[in-house]
C-alpha cells in the first residue's frame, strides 16, 4: 500500500479508557429496562388486540351464563388497591435510596415485596372462586381471554416479585447507595409497568 496507509499510526488518537461508560443521559441498565418494557407493552398489545377482536365477535359479552361473575367490587378490588399501593411503596424505596437512606429503602422495599406476594395470593384465591363457579380457560371465548390475560399478568407480577426479592437481598447485603442503584431504578420501572397493565386489565375486564 501507499505510505498513506500508515497515517493510522501517526494521526490523532483518542484514548479508549472510559469508553465503556458514557456518563451522559440515562444509564445502560435503565435504558435496557425501558426497551424491555417496550417489548412487553407490545406483547400485551397482542393479547389486548385479541381480546377486543374476540369480544367484538361474540355477543352478548359477558355471555349470559357468566353475566354476573366478574364483580369489580369484591376481593379483586382489594387486590387492585394492594397492587397500586405497592407501586407507591416501591417509589418510596427508590426515593429513599436516592438520598442514601438505606433503612428507609429496605423497609419500603420489603413492604412492596410483601404486597406483591399478597396480590398473587389473592389472585390465586380469586381464581379458585371462579373455578368453583364453573368458569375455566376452556369455557368459551370469555373464559379463554379472561384467564389468558390475567394469568399472563400474574406471571409478570411473579417475575416482578422475584426481581424485588433479588433487589431486597442485594440491598440487605449493602450493595446499593445513592450513587449506585441503577438496578433499583430498573426494577421499580418494571414494577410500575406491571401495575399499569393491571389497572388497564381491571378497567377493561371488569368495567367495560
Amino acid at each position: 500500500m501507499t505510505a498513506d496507509s500508515h497515517a493510522l499510526t501517526t494521526g490523532e488518537h483518542t484514548s479508549v479508557a472510559g469508553l465503556a461508560h458514557d456518563r451522559r443521559g440515562i444509564s445502560n441498565p435503565i435504558l435496557g429496562m425501558l426497551l424491555f418494557i417496550t417489548s412487553e407493552v407490545m406483547f400485551f398489545g397482542g393479547l389486548f388486540a385479541a381480546y377486543f377482536s374476540t369480544r367484538a365477535a361474540n355477543k352478548p359479552w359477558p355471555p349470559a351464563q357468566f353475566s354476573e361473575i366478574l364483580n369489580p367490587f369484591s376481593l379483586i378490588l382489594v387486590a387492585t388497591v394492594i397492587l397500586i399501593a405497592s407501586s407507591f411503596t416501591c417509589q418510596l424505596a427508590v426515593a429513599a435510596i436516592r438520598r442514601d437512606d438505606r433503612r428507609g429503602f429496605l423497609r419500603n422495599m420489603a413492604v412492596t415485596f410483601v404486597l406483591g406476594v399478597l396480590f398473587l395470593v389473592l389472585q390465586a384465591y380469586d381464581y379458585s372462586l371462579l373455578f368453583g363457579e364453573g368458569m375455566t380457560i376452556g369455557s368459551g371465548p370469555f373464559g379463554t381471554t379472561y384467564f389468558t390475560l390475567t394469568s399472563f399478568h400474574g406471571a409478570h407480577v411473579f417475575g416482578g416479585v422475584i426481581m424485588l426479592g433479588v433487589i431486597l437481598y442485594r440491598g440487605m447485603s449493602g450493595q446499593f447507595s445513592a450513587r449506585h442503584h441503577d438496578a433499583v431504578e430498573a426494577a421499580s420501572l418494571y414494577w410500575h409497568f406491571v401495575d399499569v397493565v393491571w389497572i388497564l386489565l381491571f378497567t377493561i375486564l371488569y368495567f367495560l
Binding site: 493510522l8 494521526g11 469508553l19 417489548s39 374476540t54
Partner: protein, 543 residues
C-alpha cells in the same frame, strides 16, 4: 480464566479452549458462534429443501408417500431457514461487527448476549428433535389455525407444540439481542461518532432492532394463544368455539412482515459496507440511505395484511397502497448502491461479487413482490409458486447473498486469514447459476397455476419441465456449498495472513488487529466522518 481476559496469560487456557468458548461473554466469540450455529441449520434446512425438490422433480409420489411428511419437510425447511439461519446469522454478523464499528469494547450487556446466543441451539434442538417425537410441525411455517390446532386431520402430537416453544425461545433471544444492540449503539459509541457518522451497517442493525423489539413480542403473543388453544381448551382461533381463524393471521403477520425486513435490512447493511470499500468511493447518498432504512422500518408495520388479500376479511386498498409505497424507499437504496459503483474503481474480490449478486437478484425479488401489491394480480398469484419465487429471490438472492458477502468480508477480521479468492469465485458462479435455475422457473409454474405446498402434481398439467429444472438447480446450489466449506477449512490453516486492513476499508473494525484483542481497541483514530479509516489514510480529501 475468562474474566482475566484483559491480560491473558497461560492460565487462560488451563480450562481448555472449549470451556473458554462455552463460557465466553466476548461479543466476537459469541458472534462467531452465532455464525457457525446458523450455518449448521442452513445445511439442515437445505437438506430438507433438497428432499422437497427431489419429491417434486417429476409427477407422482416417489418416496414421501405419506404427504404429511412432505408437509413436515417444507414447514421445517422454512422454519429453520428463517428462524435459525437468516435471522440469527445476521444477528451474529451484527454481534461481531457492531461493537467494533462503533468503537466499543463489547456489547452493553455481555452476559445477556451470551444468554441470547445459547437459547438458539437449544431451540434448534427442540425443533429438530420433533422429527423423532412422532412427526414435526406440518402446518407450514405460517402455521395457520385451525390447521395448526388439535384434531386428527390437523396437527396432532407434540411436533406443533415443540415448534411453538422453539419459536418463543428464538423470539426471546431476538428481543434480548435487540435490546443489547440498541443500548450498545445509543450509549457506547466512541467519542466523535455521532449518529450520522455511524456505518450504515450499524444503522440497519439499529432499525432492525427496533423492528424486533416492537414486532417479535406480538408473535410471541400469537404463539402463546395458539398454545393455549391446543393444550388448555382455549378458543382464540377456533371458529366453532367463538374464536376467529383470521385473528391469528393478523397477529402473525403483524410480526412476520416486519420480520422480512429484519431479514433483509442487515444484509443491505453488509452490502452498503462492501460496495464503497471495493469501489473506493463513499456510499452515494448516506443520509438518504438512512432515511430510506427508517422509512422501510416504519412502513413495514402497516402492510401486514398483504398476506391476507384473499381472505376476504381485510380492507384491501389501504394495505395495497402502503405495500406499493415500500418500493419507493427500497428503490432509493437500490439507486444509491448502483451510483456507488458508478464511476468507481471496482476490485472484484469475492465480497463485492456477492454484493453485486445481491443487487441483481434482490431487484428481481423486489419487483416480483410488487406484483402482489396489486390486489387483483395477487388474487392470481397468491399461494402459487410465484410467491415461492418471490420468497427465494428476496431471502436467498437478497439475504443469503448478502450474508456470504459479509462472511467473505469479515472472515479476515475474525480469523486473521483470507479466504481463497478462486474457491470463492467458484462458489459464487455455481450458486448464482443454480439459484436462478431453481427459482426463476417458479415464476412460470406459479403463473400457470401450480399451487405451493403440494407434494405432487398432475403429469399433464404442463409443469414437468420447469420442475425438473428447479430440482437440478437445487442440487447445483448444494454443490456450491462444498467449495465454501472446503475454503473455510483450508484457509483457516493456510490462508494468506490478512493483516489489520486487507481491503483498505473505511470503518473502525479495521483499525485494530485481526483478530482483535479481547477488548477490541488499544487506540482509536479520530472520527470525523462515517469513514474514519479512509480519513486517516487519505487525509480529509473529498469532504
Amino acid at each position: 480464566m475468562a474474566t482475566h481476559a484483559l491480560a491473558p496469560d497461560a492460565s487462560a487456557y488451563s480450562r481448555g479452549l472449549l470451556y473458554e468458548w462455552l463460557t465466553t461473554t466476548d461479543h466476537k466469540k459469541i458472534g462467531i458462534m452465532y455464525v457457525i450455529n446458523s450455518f449448521i441449520f442452513f445445511l439442515i434446512g437445505g437438506v430438507l429443501a433438497l428432499v422437497v425438490r427431489t419429491e417434486l422433480a417429476q409427477p407422482g409420489l416417489q418416496f414421501l408417500t405419506d404427504e404429511r411428511v412432505y408437509n413436515e419437510m417444507f414447514t421445517m425447511h422454512a422454519t429453520l431457514m428463517i428462524f435459525l439461519f437468516v435471522i440469527p446469522m445476521l444477528a451474529g454478523l451484527g454481534n461481531y461487527a457492531v461493537p467494533l464499528m462503533v468503537g466499543a469494547p463489547d456489547m452493553a450487556f455481555p452476559r445477556i448476549n451470551a444468554l441470547s446466543f445459547w437459547m438458539l441451539p437449544l431451540a434448534g434442538i427442540l425443533l429438530v428433535s420433533s422429527f423423532f417425537t412422532g412427526g414435526a410441525a406440518a402446518a407450514g411455517w405460517t402455521s395457520y389455525p385451525p390447521l395448526s390446532g388439535e384434531g386428527p386431520l390437523n396437527s396432532p402430537g407434540a411436533g406443533q407444540d415443540l415448534w411453538i416453544v422453539g419459536l418463543i425461545l428464538i423470539g426471546t433471544s431476538s428481543i434480548l439481542g435487540a435490546i443489547n444492540f440498541l443500548v450498545t449503539i445509543f450509549k457506547m459509541r466512541a467519542p466523535g461518532m455521532t449518529l450520522f457518522r455511524m456505518p450504515i451497517m450499524v444503522w440497519t442493525i439499529l432499525v432492525t432492532s427496533v423492528l424486533v423489539l416492537m414486532a417479535t413480542p406480538v408473535i410471541t403473543s400469537a404463539l402463546v394463544m395458539l398454545f393455549i388453544d391446543r393444550n388448555y381448551g382455549g378458543t382464540f382461533f377456533d371458529p366453532s368455539g367463538g374464536g376467529s381463524a383470521t385473528l391469528y393471521q393478523n397477529v402473525f403477520w403483524f410480526y412476520s412482515h416486519p420480520a422480512v425486513y429484519v431479514m433483509i435490512l442487515p444484509a443491505m447493511g453488509v452490502v452498503s459496507e462492501v460496495l464503497p470499500v471495493f469501489s473506493r468511493k463513499p456510499l452515494f447518498g448516506y443520509k438518504a440511505f438512512v432515511f430510506a432504512t427508517a422509512a422501510i422500518g416504519a412502513l413495514g408495520f402497516s402492510v401486514w395484511a398483504h398476506h391476507m388479500f384473499t381472505t376476504g376479511s381485510v380492507f384491501l386498498p389501504f394495505f395495497s397502497l402502503l405495500t406499493f409505497m415500500i418500493a419507493v424507499p427500497t428503490g432509493v437504496k437500490m439507486f444509491n448502491w448502483v451510483f456507488t459503483l458508478f464511476r468507481g474503481q471496482l476490485t472484484f474480490s469475492t465480497p463485492l461479487i456477492f454484493a453485486i449478486g445481491f443487487l441483481t437478484m434482490f431487484l428481481i425479488g423486489g419487483i416480483n413482490g410488487a406484483f402482489s401489491a396489486s390486489v387483483p394480480v395477487d388474487f392470481a398469484l397468491h399461494d402459487t409458486y410465484w410467491i415461492v419465487a418471490h420468497i427465494h429471490y428476496v431471502l436467498f438472492g437478497g439475504s443469503v447473498f448478502g450474508i456470504f458477502a459479509g462472511i467473505y468480508y469479515w472472515f479476515p477480521k475474525m480469523t486473521g486469514r483470507m479466504l481463497d479468492e478462486g474457491l470463492g469465485k467458484i462458489q459464487f458462479v455455481l450458486m448464482f447459476v443454480g439459484f436462478n435455475l431453481t427459482f426463476f422457473p417458479m415464476h412460470m409454474l406459479g403463473i400457470q397455476g401450480m399451487p405451493r405446498r403440494i407434494a405432487d402434481y398432475a403429469a399433464n398439467a404442463g409443469w414437468n419441465d420447469w420442475n425438473r429444472a428447479a430440482t437440478i438447480g437445487g442440487f447445483v446450489i448444494a454443490l456450491s456449498i462444498l467449495p465454501f466449506i472446503w475454503n473455510v477449512f483450508v484457509s483457516l490453516r493456510n490462508g494468506r495472513v490478512a493483516g489489520d486492513d486487507p481491503w483498505e476499508a473505511n470503518t473502525l473494525e479495521w483499525a485494530t488487529t485481526s483478530p482483535p484483542p479481547p477488548y477490541n481497541f488499544d487506540r482509536l483514530p479520530e472520527i470525523r466522518s462515517e469513514r474514519p479509516l479512509f480519513d486517516a489514510r487519505h487525509g480529509r480529501i473529498g469532504h
